[in-house]
């Protein structure tokens, strides 16, 4: 199992035909740009983090009727099955589709190879990794909602519209991210 997993994840990074092709970052980055243009021309600029509280509101309102109406924040952003929530569902479906297609093709192209973890301190036990991921998720949504957007809404969409808020958010978030990545994790061993 472990060996086949490796095959799925290793991708001929230095093959001749590969070098001649358009680099991955350019191809998929440009596609994200086109998706952004489509989104703006149809409904609104891309944004992901709004859907999290909207989805929470949707679920909790089913469990405790009247919950959403009591919350000031949900009254402001709206809740239920919105365009944003459907975008989130599509995001999941698109990733699943890409993953399954990659599998079907015999593992190649399922994903570009990302060299193994660069930060040794990050591995730890599975439990520690999961707690870290959970806490990371908690903080990135809380922070994104406080700022009014995440990487997608503030940086991708914000900078595409040349919003100053996107520039400020991007600078603070990347600066803090870099600082904390250095503080929290150790240098790679290799």
């Amino acid at each position: 199992m472990a060996v086949s997993e490796m095959k799925v994840r290793t991708f001929p990074a230095t093959g001749k035909s590969d070098a001649a092709r358009m680099p991955n970052w350019l191809k998929w980055g440009a596609l994200i740009g086109l998706v952004q243009i489509f989104a703006i021309a149809t409904v609104a600029p891309l944004g992901v983090s709004t859907a999290y509280p909207q989805f929470v509101g949707l679920v909790l309102d089913r469990l405790f009727p009247g919950f959403a109406a009591q919350q000031l924040y949900l009254r402001e952003i709206g809740t239920g099955v919105t365009w944003e929530v459907m975008l989130l569902a599509g995001l999941f479906t698109g990733a699943l589709l890409s993953f399954l297609l990659g599998r079907m093709k015999g593992g190649l192209h399922s994903q570009p190879a990302v060299a193994p973890v660069c930060v040794t301190g990050f591995e730890g036990s599975r439990m520690r990794r999961y707690v870290r991921a959970w806490l990371g998720g908690f903080l990135f949504i809380f922070g994104a909602r406080l700022a009014g957007g995440c990487t997608t809404g503030h940086m991708l969409s914000g900078m595409a519209q040349m919003a100053i808020s996107g520039l400020v958010f991007g600078a603070v978030a990347f600066g803090t991210g870099m600082l904390f990545a250095k503080l929290l994790f150790r240098e790679p061993s290799r």
């Binding site: 944004g47 983090s49 995001l91 570009p112 990302v114 060299a115 660069c118 990135f140 803090t176 250095k182």
Partner: protein
């Protein structure tokens, strides 16, 4: 209304597919990016921004009614504090709100935990919002300002100049990466 939801779903599929193919389902990519070991993350984002920047500006010049602008306001305290919390979150988790869902689509354990954490962070934000709003969101709100609105210049030329600048950054990152790779003599993809 249903059309809007369908559009959201389709947009999400395109976005999720591209993010997965670019390698964002694993937290490595963000960690390596924050450690300045690998610029894939930045290059993908900047490429997407350049493409959409030009596309939106061209669209707004040709048929302005097609562009659904959504400029986020710059309320200084909230954007800065949120950016800080967000930065700590991405450093810890290695995901952002969108890529966590992409990781979830390819069944990665840490991504599942990050999404669960995100939903709980969203609930926490809904609960504390009435207290945070008057302290961090309402004061020091500079409004929906953009680079062209601050400079008092039309959108299209500013967008083209901004895009050109970002292309310069991408070119510089690519060169920097090549030089780093030569120095380290370690195989890194893309």
């Amino acid at each position: 209304m249903t059309t809007t939801l369908l559009l959201g779903f389709l947009t999400g599929i395109g976005f999720g597919f591209a993010l997965h193919r670019a390698g964002f389902s694993r937290c490595n990519l963000v960690h390596r990016g924050l450690w300045l070991r690998d610029f894939t993350m930045l290059k993908v984002m900047l490429t997407a921004i350049v493409v959409s920047l030009i596309g939106i500006a061209a669209l707004s010049a040709l048929s302005p009614e097609l562009v659904h602008w959504k400029i986020k306001p710059l309320y200084l305290w909230g954007v800065i504090a949120g950016g800080f919390i967000f930065g700590v979150g991405i450093a810890l988790g290695g995901y952002c709100p969108g890529t966590a869902v992409v990781g979830l689509g390819s069944g990665i354990g840490e991504a599942i935990l990050a999404v669960v954490g995100g939903l709980m962070g969203a609930l926490a934000f809904i609960v504390v919002y009435p207290w945070l709003k008057p302290i961090l969101i309402e004061p020091a709100n500079l409004g929906k300002i953009t680079i062209p609105s601050v400079l008092g210049l039309p959108v299209l030329p500013v967008a083209l100049a901004f895009a050109l600048m970002l292309v310069g950054v991408i070119w510089w990152l690519t060169r920097l990466e090549r030089r780093m790779r030569e120095r380290a003599k370690a195989p890194v993809q893309n």
